[in-house]
Symmetry: C2
């Protein structure tokens, strides 16, 4: 029950993928440790420069001979509106003051640069012969998918609705991650609006399984053997876990971030776009609460992300969770502090027991 | 795997409960047919008068010797605000005109009457010795639960979060339905706000199972054997299905309503409080789309429900889905037209095949 066409394709022992969490969590040691323990380690490369990406790929290769993957953000068209930025900065200035980081220069992103960087990231993936590459926030063009196929690189898309999964299959990708509304971090919707793409996994997995023939990977709220077996019963071929891996000892998440997840028991998560301009699920803190009223007028991704970068960084540096983006799925209450090996073995043992 | 302490307690052959959909869907024939086929039929009595409720209970008893249940709405405090009602009516008047139902007198509800009716419903349940009684929108008082226990009536609560499930267990109820964000119809949250209580079943079931010791029933988006086995893997002891039963031949749902569900493939559902004043999930139609902008200023439940009643009724009478409340879960795309017997047998056969 635990090996199938997808585990064969990805060459992994267990149907478990570590979610490609961006922003420093997926260190080389962490990713390699996941792969060395029979699951699939993934580099969250969304915010990396092509040079950083190449370096990390080479590091991971030194640390594991097993398969691993890279995740890229597909850039969505955006344009900087001076007045929007000004208004957003006026809300943010009090935090700059509180954190003592006034006067830092913010470099605003522009679409041409973002797109150029993405193209170069793809080139790095190809040149470094990365075994698996997944995409979020959209789909790569058909020629990229075709080039990957030619090079033996497995491509994986991210969908939040049936329509998005069909789009991913049509473009020729090898598998699809379905992101349930339970999932932490950024929403991967790219066809429907945010609100309409919040579908629970209990509903989303069987729908997508019925409408596409490529293997489906379930992401969102899965933390243990119960979630793994449930996802398999619903028709998924593997699970992708973020929050469960995030609190592992080896993960590069900030200690304050890990603590916030462990302490969040009983507190519900929130959906916010005030950190980055794109909807994402995380643990409430002062920033999400105070910024909530400005939700509607925040600039789009990645502009707002650039505007809040110094605040998030300084907050982390000062071990202050108030202004950090504490992405988490809806099952934070089930998180544990353990090693990657312990997590993978526990999930598999629980799953075997359930299906015995 | 399919029988357990809950199926024993409820005296049902299969771990399947028909969701107590209110508003004419759960006819006596339908409820009895579900029970006669080895699942648990439930009367959705939320909108019934005590007299209507007693009549239907007696009808069902004539049609089945098996266990069945009744669901009651726990009245939440509310107060009619004249100016709110006036504003709401001003938005609704164009529909009255379009449907040719001007001049109908609307009787506004008041809390004392609603509470009195609820107390009488409970009395009917006790006098008629209904085997099972479930509650939505809150919990009954401890003395009601104790009285039920004394009479051998099994009481079941509805929770959308761990905190609500704990509350239900503490008050002495025998089981808890956990309503995932996937679920159609009214949201059952009664502690947290609507937004915070939208938790997917993949996340909600294991959390609640870890925090309460009473049996957990999974509701939301479950349509087939995949959903049943997944719910059981996650730790639930049974599933409660609404949409799947709604399109059954025996269900009392309006043909136009059934059609709307069957035709909704590919369309996502919406959360709206414009029909009743309480958040509920359903299929989009002209009413939900046009009223969306007034979402924030609509009077609370059941005031708005009273204001829209004649519109919903006339729309149904005219076979016009535009102004009917088309409650549905997120898996409408998986709905089928079949008999209750076919549905129950199909779900069980699929489930057996998955776990074989």
């Amino acid at each position: 029950m635990f090996t199938n066409e997808l585990t064969n394709l990805l060459k992994i022992d267990y149907p478990i993928i570590q979610a490609p969490m961006a922003g420093g969590i997926t260190t080389s040691e962490f990713v390699a440790s996941v792969s060395n323990n029979g699951a699939l380690g993934m580099i969250g490369a969304g915010y990396m420069s092509p040079i950083q990406l190449r370096e990390q790929i080479r590091e991971v290769k030194h640390l594991t001979s097993k398969n691993f993957g890279v995740n890229l953000f597909v850039p969505n068209q955006f344009e900087v509106m001076e007045n929007e930025v000004e208004i957003a900065n006026s809300f943010l200035s009090r935090y700059l003051e509180e954190l003592n980081i006034q006067g830092e220069k913010i470099t605003l992103p522009n679409f041409e640069n973002a797109f150029q960087s993405y193209r170069e990231q793809i080139q790095v993936v190809i040149e470094e012969k990365v075994p698996i590459c997944s995409f979020t926030f959209g789909v790569p063009t058909a020629d990229v998918v075709a080039q990957f196929k030619l090079q033996g690189i497995i491509s994986v898309g991210t969908a939040t609705t049936v329509a998005e999964a069909i789009c991913i299959e049509k473009i020729g990708m090898d598998a699809v991650v379905v992101q349930g509304s339970e999932a932490g971090g950024h929403r991967g919707n790219f066809i429907r609006a945010h609100e309409e793409s919040l579908i629970g996994l209990m509903s989303l997995i069987p729908q997508v399984v019925d409408f596409v023939s490529i293997p489906v990977i379930a992401a969102g709220g899965v933390m243990d053997g119960r979630g793994l077996t449930a996802a398999l019963c619903l028709g998924a071929k593997a699970i992708q876990m973020g929050t469960a891996f995030l609190t592992c000892e080896e993960s590069g998440a900030h200690p304050v971030y890990k603590e916030a997840i462990m302490e969040s028991a009983g507190e519900e998560t929130t959906l916010t776009r005030t950190f980055s301009g794109k909807w994402a699920r995380g643990i409430k803190n002062r920033f999400t609460k105070e910024m909530e009223e400005h939700e509607g007028i925040v600039p789009t991704f990645p502009i707002q992300n650039a505007l809040t970068q110094s605040i998030r960084k300084a907050s982390a540096k000062q071990n202050n969770k108030d202004f950090m983006s504490l992405w988490s799925g809806q099952s934070a209450i089930l998180a544990r502090v353990e090693t990657v090996e312990e997590l993978v073995q526990r999930v598999m043992n629980e799953a075997r027991k359930i299906l015995r």
